[in-house]
C-alpha cells in the first residue's frame, strides 16, 4: 500500500514541555487511522504539524509524498483539517460559512454536495441561522462539512465528535466509512472508545510518545488480566465496596456494570459472586468478559500515571 502520511522521529517542544517525542508512524492511502490518549498526549500538536500549521523541532513528516515544511502550500490544497476548537465565522450564517470554505478552495457546495449530504442535511433547516447561535453539536457538524467541502485527499479530524449526540455519531462514522471506501485517507482523534474500534489501526499516545500502535483487536491484547463484569442492585455501593477490598486490582464503572480485575491470579467468578452475596448484595451477577479498547485504554493510562492520581 502507498503511504499517505509518513511521520519519522517527530519531536516538538513548547518552552519546557516536550509535547511530542520521537513519534514515528505511517498511514496508508485509504486508511482510517485513529489516535487515542488523554488530554495533553500530543494528538492536537501532531495534527497541526501534519496540517502544516506548526513547524516540528525534529524529524520529518510527509503528507501525500510532500514535505510538510517545504511543500506546505501544495499540501494545504489537498487536505482537510477540522481543529478541535470551533473555528468558523460566528457572524456568518451556516450556509455562508460553507460557501466561504468552498470558494477558498475554488470549488462550490453543489459540486461536492454528495460528500457532505449525510451531515449537512441535518443543518439545512437552519441554514440561515448565524453559526454562533448553533448548539454545540451543530457547530461540530458544520465544521466537519466545511473541512470536507473541497473533497480533500487526506482528512485530519481532531476530536470531531466531541459534543455530537449518540445518533449523529453513529451516522458520522458511517459517513467516514463511505469516504474511506472512496479512497480518502482519514486521521481522526477521539475520546470515544466505541469510535476507536471502528478504525483500521489505532495509535495510543501518552505524554508526547506513541505507546502502542495496532489494530483495535491487537490493542486489546495488551490487557493481560482476567476481566470480570459484575452487576448488583446498588451499583454505586458495589463500586465503593469493591474498591475498598484488598483483593481489588481495578474497578471501573461501565454503564450498568462494573469491570473488575482481582490481584489473586486464579480467582473464579463464582467465588466473587459468593463473597458479594455474603456482603449483603442482591441481584448479583459475575461473568468473565473479553476486555475492550476502553478497558485497555484505562489499564495503559493507570500503568503510566498512577502517580498523579488525586
Amino acid at each position: 500500500m502507498k503511504e499517505a502520511v509518513l511521520i519519522a522521529g517527530v519531536g516538538k517542544r513548547f518552552g519546557e514541555v516536550q509535547v511530542l517525542q520521537e513519534v514515528t508512524l505511517s498511514v496508508g492511502e485509504g486508511e482510517l487511522f485513529g489516535f487515542i490518549g488523554a488530554d495533553g498526549a500530543g494528538k492536537t500538536t501532531l495534527f497541526r504539524i501534519l496540517a502544516t500549521l506548526l513547524l516540528p523541532d525534529e524529524g520529518r513528516s510527509e503528507v501525500l509524498g510532500l514535505d510538510v515544511v517545504r511543500s506546505y502550500r501544495d499540501i494545504r490544497k489537498r487536505i482537510g483539517y477540522m481543529p478541535g476548537k470551533f473555528s468558523l465565522y460566528p457572524d456568518l450564517s451556516v450556509e455562508e460559512n460553507l460557501r466561504f470554505f468552498a470558494s477558498v478552495f475554488g470549488t462550490t457546495v453543489e459540486k461536492n454536495y454528495e460528500l457532505i449530504r449525510d451531515i449537512y442535511s441535518q443543518l439545512e433547516p437552519f441554514k440561515t441561522r448565524r453559526a454562533g447561535k448553533l448548539s454545540g453539536g451543530m457547530k461540530q457538524k458544520l465544521a466537519l462539512s466545511c473541512a470536507l467541502v473541497h473533497r480533500p485527499e487526506v482528512l485530519f479530524l481532531d476530536e470531531p465528535t466531541t459534543g455530537v449526540d449518540a445518533v449523529s455519531r453513529k451516522e458520522f462514522w458511517q459517513m467516514l466509512g463511505r469516504l474511506r471506501e472512496q479512497g480518502m485517507t482519514i486521521l481522526v482523534s477521539t475520546p470515544y472508545m466505541d469510535e476507536a474500534v471502528l478504525c483500521d489501526r489505532i495509535a495510543f499516545m501518552q505524554e508526547g510518545r506513541m505507546l502502542a500502535l495496532d489494530t483495535p483487536t491487537g490493542i486489546t491484547t495488551l490487557f493481560r488480566k482476567p476481566l470480570f463484569a459484575i452487576r448488583a442492585r446498588e451499583t454505586w455501593r458495589l463500586l465503593c465496596a469493591l474498591r475498598a477490598s484488598s483483593h481489588a486490582a481495578s474497578v471501573y464503572a461501565f454503564g450498568s456494570a462494573l469491570h473488575y480485575t482481582d490481584n489473586r491470579p486464579a480467582v473464579r467468578a463464582d467465588e466473587l459472586l459468593v463473597a458479594l452475596q455474603a456482603d449483603g448484595f442482591t441481584e448479583v451477577s459475575v461473568s468473565v468478559i473479553q476486555p475492550g479498547i476502553e478497558d485497555t485504554f484505562i489499564a495503559l493510562m493507570e500503568e503510566k500515571q498512577g502517580s498523579d492520581h488525586v
Partner: protein, 245 residues
Amino acid sequence: MSEPVIHTDKLTKRFGDFVAVDALSLTISSGEIFGFLGANGAGKTTAIRMLTGLLAPTSGKATVAGFDLYTGAEGVKRNIGYMSQRFSLYDDLTVRENIRFFAGIYGLTDQAIKEKSRQLLETLKLVAVADTRLASLPLGWKQKLAFSVAILHEPKIVFLDEPTGGVDPVTRRRFWDMIYEASGRGLTIFVTTHYMDEAEYCNRLCIMVDGKVAVLDRPEAMKRHFGVESMNEVFIQLARPHRTE
C-alpha cells in the same frame, strides 16, 4: 419523599419563530442525579440557561431552590452552581486566583473566600501547586477544581452542561465519582451528557426531542420499556424521530 428543588411548569423559550424549549414541565427532588439528554439542538443548554437565570423565558413558570425564577432571581443565583462544557476555569490564572475569582462572582465575603480557599486547597491536595498556572496541571486536577469551585458557595443544585465532553475514559470516571460523593451529601445534580454509559449513572433521565420531553423515567425502567440492554439503544430509537433522510 424529599422536597422538589426544581419545579417547572410549561417553561418555554422562543427565538423568533423557533421554539427551542417547548412547555417543559419537570419536578426534581433534592439529592437527585438528574440526567438531561437529547440530540444536538434539542434545547438542553437553553433550558439550563433559563433555570440558572441567564436567559429570560418566553413563557411558563419555574421555581428553583424554592425561589421563583422571575421574582427571586437573587435567591436562585445564591443557591445554584453552574459548570459548562469542559470546565469554566481560566487557564492563565493560578489555582488560587481561580478560586478567588469564582468565589468573588458567587458573592462570598473576603473573609469567607480566604477560609474557603484554604480549605479547598487542602481537601483537593493542591496546596503545593496553589500558585501554579492552571494550564500546566493535568486534566483530572483541573476538573476536580472546576467542580469544587462551582459548588464553593454550597448551593442546593449544580447544573453541569456536558462536564465530560471530550474527556478521556479515566478522567471522566473520576468526575462521576465526584458527582456521586456530592449527591451523597445532598446536593442535587442536573447534568447533560452525550456519553450514554454516563446516562446509566443517573437516578432519573429525561430525553428531550425538539424542545419537548419525550420520556422521563429511571434508566432501568426506560430500558425495560423499550426492551433493550443499554441507554445507547434507547437514545438511538428515540432521540431523532423526524429523520431528515
